[in-house]
């Protein structure tokens, strides 16, 4: 067996493994397929980064989150781990062609699921040996797979094309039901399951029911006035994130910024790094933030909007207190808050009543012997959102109605219609029941910790902090503070000198290195 600790030290500079890492790595190196459930921030990525370094062949990592994979590649490179690349649709054509041509030169290849549908890439990979095939965020197969991540459902075929390498599926949040689903969709019923608890003993939970959005802002102002510590505030919409950030900036005592996917690339990078570097106190963000950002000292996670399922909520509060010190989750809730996630679900799943109309439209192409036009055009004609159309398209592909752009079978055949309506209904019910779980949790009157983690694990550990507002936690009594870096307005010459490290009083007292998620 390899001396794993030696590799760990040499490549990543750590002297010990965290819970679960060693077992998973050993299993994978032995060639066992593994489904690993490890909470966010506990170093999932090391479970394949280390084997990738040790093994002769290539490790392929499929990840749906392009920003996450780009961040990881950047982090690895900054640590001197060079033979790594992220293949994704953000690269321009030339970069992509170049990378694909030389793909066998890399040891660790991150790839988006849609890139794996590229035959040429598969051929290139077939010319090398793939030792390990990793599926990150494996719950996508089940949770979202039916709709957006149709490519994820095709992964078992890709794995076979690559010569059936060892498979490692990783997720931070997967109920037993989802775990079964992952094994089934990957066609690996024998997969070994390694499940580690996701409850955080250092977090306290609270929910505040308020009467209006304005009341939420007031609450936030009160909380951050008393708690001067790194804070994240989650929003479901970009506009709200910007609006509340602007209001909080008015207070003047906290450094506040917003972050969302619609920002200019460099600005996005700057905000992220400012927060990492403690130059910002509060960040108002959408779920686009935080992927791959491993800031250890986040003390407070506030949900201005709650997500559409508990799994996302667990991931988001999981960003708090990675240093093990006490931290807090606060959800702000008004009676109308279910409407936003409700609308989100509606834009994801087509309506049952529309199915007939959609299918007869597609039949029109078959009758006139035409191929389907571009996705965008079809969507426009049918007034479907991207995910609604992807959902329908996938269902038709699976039933052999369409192949690529060709409509090869009658789409409005009664049993096709019936089947699809049924799937739509199931999907709809599933999403609704996930949302209901989340809402139920918000209205739960007994221990929130129990209610949150119980569906995912047998034992919930006793917290090291006040548990929740149903137990003994009182958020009004909370007073967190962290040592702050002084920042003062300077002249341009002082600012320039600071950046160049030449004189000037230094803003950063402690050196803060962005470190890799272990």
């Amino acid at each position: 067996m390899h001396d794993l600790t030696h590799y760990l030290e040499q490549t990543f500079g750590y002297s010990t493994f965290r819970e679960g890492q060693r077992t998973i790595i050993e299993d994978v190196l032995r060639g066992d397929d593994v489904l690993g459930i490890l909470p966010t921030g506990t170093g999932k990525s090391l479970c394949y980064q280390l084997p990738a370094q040790i093994q002769e062949g290539i490790t392929v990592v499929v990840s749906p989150l392009i920003s996450l994979m780009i961040d990881q590649v950047k982090q690895l490179k900054s640590q001197g781990y060079k033979s790594v690349i992220a293949l994704n649709s953000f690269m321009d054509r030339e970069q992509r062609m170049n990378a694909m041509k030389n793909v066998t030169r890399y040891k660790l290849i991150y790839v988006s699921p849609e890139m794996l549908q590229n035959d040429w890439l598969i051929e290139r990979l077939q010319q090398a040996t793939v030792d390990l095939f990793v599926i990150d965020e494996a719950h996508c197969i089940s949770q979202w797979g039916h709709e957006f991540r149709t490519d994820y459902l095709k992964l078992h075929r890709v794995i076979h094309q690559l010569g059936d390498p060892t498979v490692l599926a990783l997720s931070a949040t997967a109920t037993p039901e989802v775990q079964e689903d992952i094994k089934e969709k990957l066609n690996r019923p024998e997969m070994k399951q390694l499940i580690y608890p996701m409850d955080k003993p250092n977090i306290s939970f609270a929910v505040r029911h308020v009467s209006s959005p304005g009341e939420k802002v007031k609450q936030i102002k009160q909380v951050i006035a008393k708690n001067d510590a790194p804070t994240m505030i989650y929003f479901s919409s970009r506009q709200w994130a910007e609006r509340v950030a602007a209001e909080l900036q008015q207070i003047g005592t906290r450094r506040v910024a917003f972050y969302h996917g619609g920002m200019e690339q460099t600005d996005r990078m700057l905000v992220q790094q400012q927060f990492m570097n403690d130059q910002l106190d509060v960040i108002c963000c959408t779920s686009a933030f935080g992927m791959g950002v491993d800031k250890k000292n986040i003390r407070l996670v506030i949900h201005y909007h709650f997500p559409a399922q508990l799994e996302s909520f667990i991931q988001e509060v999981g960003r708090a207190g990675r240093d093990g010190h006490p931290c807090v989750s606060l959800v702000l809730h008004t009676a109308k808050d279910h409407l936003l996630p409700q609308m989100l679900i509606e834009s994801e799943v087509p309506e049952k009543a529309d199915v007939n109309h959609i299918l007869s439209h597609i039949n029109g192409y078959r009758s006139s012997n035409e191929p389907l036009p571009e996705d965008e055009l079809v969507r426009e004609r049918l007034r479907l959102s991207e995910s609604q159309w992807n959902f329908i398209k996938y269902q038709l592909e699976e039933r052999g109605v369409i192949d690529g752009r060709e409509v090869i079978n009658k789409p409005d055949h009664p049993h096709v219609v019936r089947d699809i309506i049924q799937v739509v209904q199931e999907r709809w019910h599933y999403k609704q029941s996930k949302l209901k779980e989340m809402i139920d949790w918000i209205h739960h009157t007994e221990c929130r910790r129990e209610a949150l983690y119980r569906p995912f694990q047998d034992e919930v550990r006793t917290p090291i902090v006040a548990c929740c507002d149903a137990c003994s936690f009182d958020i009004d009594a909370l007073e967190l503070s962290t040592q702050k870096k002084k920042s003062s307005t300077r002249t341009w010459e002082e600012r320039l000198a600071l950046v160049f490290g030449r004189g000037g009083n230094h803003e950063t007292s402690s050196r803060n290195h962005p470190t890799n998620e272990r």
């Binding site: 341009w492 320039l496 290195h513 962005p514």
Partner: protein, 354 residues
């Protein structure tokens, strides 16, 4: 700043263009019409100085100018300055926008900016013993360029950082405090992360648009000084190595021009390139604008050219329609455009103020 630029644009176009024309100019649209406008109205300096400008931002500013009674729009949507606007234009501090050279620098600036930002971040982090950092510029060519510089200065990074600091300090001293402040606050290095446009705007009390334009202006200023005195600014000179002036002609127009030089007719080129006649004509006008020795005589006689020019002068306009009518429709719009484009190389006022 933005207001001053818009007033200047409106002043120069003298009710002969719409807001869209100004939008295309500022965002640097590479079309014959826009380049022709840039030259014809002596607004080259502003070409492409705000590529990320969105239409609604511009409309917002124009609405404000309209509310202040500085501009008016006629029924053809052409804008012009009112008396109040003219007065505002006269009051503009010319030195505040003096360094814009958009037509020359619009392609060079973003590359120069990315190189400089990443170079400062990399070198200052290394000399201050911060070996692990995430690059703020995420693009492969820039990163490999910085790697190259780093490799050639290994062992001398300390003095490199001092010199770069010195070069920037010297140059920024020649700008206003405000510009120097915005510029240095945008820089990332030595564990300090630069500010976003949003934050710069809050800190300096400027609009987001002005922040953008002040930064652009500093970059154009740096480019000019560095090119003028390369030996005084050796490191910054390295940052512009390999970056030529923008080629003023689009590739497509260049191909048309190539066939013309081979002696092909417009019809032949149309067939060969499967393009519309009007497109080919646009190309020729574009070529005439940027290539002084492109002879247009085979498209319009010398006499025709002088008739068009004298009509333009007596009507005091560059509006094609008026010239066309003034000459009783004797010449086509294409011939008029071609003539104006060709002769702006030789006119006295064709030079840019910037």
């Amino acid at each position: 700043m933005f207001e001053a630029i818009l007033l200047t644009c409106v002043h120069h176009i003298q009710a002969e263009r719409t807001i869209s024309g100004i939008y295309h100019l500022l965002t640097g649209k590479r079309s014959s019409q826009t380049m022709q406008d840039a030259k014809g109205y002596a607004l080259e300096g502003f070409f492409g100085i705000y590529k990320s400008l969105e239409r609604h931002q511009l409309d917002h500013y124009f609405n404000q100018l309209e509310q202040k009674g500085m501009i008016e729009t006629n029924d053809q949507q052409f804008v012009h300055l009112t008396e109040v606007g003219e007065k505002g234009y006269q009051e503009i501090d010319a030195s505040a926008i003096a360094y814009f050279q958009g037509l020359t620098y619009h392609q060079m600036t973003p590359v120069f900016e990315k190189r400089l930002l990443l170079l400062v971040q990399t070198m200052t982090n290394i000399t201050n013993n911060r070996r692990s950092f995430i690059p703020i510029i995420d693009d492969a060519p820039t990163q490999s360029w910085v790697r190259g510089i780093y490799a050639s200065y290994q062992g001398q990074t300390d003095s490199f950082v001092d010199s770069l600091h010195e070069e920037l300090h010297t140059l920024l001293s020649g700008r206003t405090t405000r510009e120097a402040y915005v510029f240095s606050s945008r820089l990332t290095g030595n564990g300090v992360i630069g500010l976003t446009y949003e934050q710069l705007s809050t800190e300096s009390g400027l609009s987001k648009e002005d922040v953008h334009l002040y930064l652009q202006h500093v970059y154009h200023y740096l480019l000019q000084k560095v090119r003028q005195y390369p030996s005084s600014f050796p490191i910054l000179s390295q940052c512009i190595e390999g970056l030529g002036d923008s080629t003023l002609i689009t590739q497509s127009a260049n191909r048309t021009y190539y066939y013309i030089k081979l002696g092909w007719t417009i019809d032949e080129i149309m067939k060969k390139r499967r393009l519309k006649k009007s497109t080919i004509q646009d190309h020729l006008v574009e070529a005439a604008l940027v290539i002084p020795d492109f002879s247009i005589d085979s498209f319009i006689s010398i006499e025709g050219q002088s008739l068009i020019l004298s009509m333009t002068e007596s009507l005091e306009t560059k509006r094609l329609k008026q010239i066309h009518q003034g000459l009783n429709g004797e010449f086509s719009y294409f011939q008029i455009r071609l003539t104006l484009a060709h002769h702006q190389h030789f006119s006295k006022e064709g030079t840019s103020y910037a």
